[in-house]
Symmetry: C2
Subunit: 282 residues, 2 copies
């Protein structure tokens, strides 16, 4: 099995490592518009060699792991180039725009839209981790629109690297992921911004930051290049979640302002239920 990975960052690089481990006889090749990332991926043996667009017709599996704005145009081009038994898998964080973009493509049945929910706040091939996907969820969208043999090949790969598969339509994916992923990133970025702004005038503030702050602000280290097009493509859902979040913050502020500390207590007590919910995540 020859697997071509387009985009050798955290996700593409980690997939390459895991697939090679699960399928030792497979050949993993790749490309990246960032030449430093490409050299690094070769140096770290994430891929065995480079592949060009012209050679893509030799691949059995093509994984597209690039920022979602580029995926929109690149996936269609790649579907034009691959051989008729290859499967093209996208792994971006938004699913409706890519599914819409390939909807009318002649080779639509060779495409599978997925979102492996795994990652760290780091990026690039240096950040690639063996085992990143173990016990993580992969959301598979519009499975019925992919040819059965190619569904099978793709899903076997994700199962072999330890992922739990869930099926969902792209609209539901984009709506739900706005809550559990996109909103977390914005809340973290804006927390980081608020504290950094304050720090300009108040030296030493970070001496006082503990592990709680570090944990809450961790996602503010994430790549703007990756996240800007995600917010752009999922604009409507992101704005809706942000409005609900801001309303909740304003309500909490009003409770404090009105000295309603029973209300403040109750808000936190009710939200403690998140403990039960999070048990399954780590």
């Amino acid at each position: 099995m020859k697997v071509a990975v387009i985009g050798l960052g955290l996700i593409g690089g980690s997939l390459a490592l895991d697939i090679k481990k699960a399928f030792p006889t497979s050949v993993i090749v790749g490309m990246d518009t960032n030449k430093q990332h490409l050299s690094k991926a070769l140096e770290l043996k994430i891929i065995s060699s480079e592949i060009t667009f012209e050679e893509l017709n030799t691949a059995d599996v093509v994984i597209v792991s690039i920022p979602v704005n580029y995926a929109i145009s690149e996936v269609s081009k790649i579907l034009d180039l691959v051989n008729e038994s290859a499967v093209v898998i996208d792994v971006g964080s938004t699913k409706l725009p890519i599914c819409e973009a390939v909807k009318m493509h002649t080779n639509r049945r060779q495409f599978l839209a997925t979102h492996p929910i795994a990652g760290t706040e780091f990026s690039g091939p240096d950040a690639a981790l063996l085992g990143l996907f173990k016990n993580k969820t992969n959301i598979i969208c519009d499975i019925e629109k992919t040819a059965p043999q190619l569904q099978k090949r793709a899903l076997q790969i994700f199962e072999a690297i330890g992922m739990n598969l869930r099926y969902m339509n792209p609209e539901a994916h984009d709506k739900h992921i706005a809550y559990v992923s996109h909103l977390s990133h914005i809340s973290s970025f804006m927390l980081g911004k608020t504290v950094l702004e304050k720090e300009k005038n108040e030296r030493d503030i970070f001496d006082m930051a503990g592990s709680g702050f570090a944990s809450t602000v961790r996602l503010a280290k994430s790549s703007p290049k990756m996240w800007t097009p995600i917010f752009q493509q999922n604009k409507t859902n992101v704005i809706e979640t942000l409005e609900e979040y801001i309303n909740n913050l304003n309500h909490f502020k009003t409770l404090i302002q009105n000295d309603d500390f029973e209300g403040v207590f109750k808000e936190m007590e009710d939200t403690n239920y998140i403990k039960q919910v999070l048990k399954g995540i780590y």
Copy 2:
């Protein structure tokens, strides 16, 4: 050295464990209004025996690690009871109210206000951890108001358990800690609330939550009993930080609404500077 720990939760319990390790000949005793916590602390050998208020005059060091609303009244009572060479150390998350409360006490010079910045989202003696304070910061307030011999004894203890000491007035402490600790807790609680509210109608949303969400929402597991009086005592600063945070979120939302994605990119790129800042924290 006999050390009495009032309040055997995460912080009190962890201090007891660390002090015993650093001073093997010390005797660590304690009390807790929660009888289950007291039994648990005895069972886990966090303390060697119970101490009553009547016996507090036998202690050389008294550590008060109880919710900040109780600390206000209890510290004054304890200062009435201890012998004249004992030091009473408070370790709560707000510092101005406690410093105000003991300001006119006859034994003010036997009191030291501190804030060891360490913890987890868990609570109670089960959550106590040996080594919790190693390489963490302890903010010492109004050091000059404590008798030199007692300053020395208290600071020796904190140095022996591995803490870095910083000196600050209580006003500055409460203002800065609102940014790096209190705001993180509120942002996390409200993120948890927003997602839980959504989940009522949307099953399976948490299957999609990854480690990023878990990290951002971790502090929403914290104890409402501990945090409500902190927000109450630090009301003015907390409201100020919340307002800045909400303004930043509204601005980010407006950028998205106006399709100003260069602006969105820049906000995130600027905030990535937090990477440098966080390097020192873990």
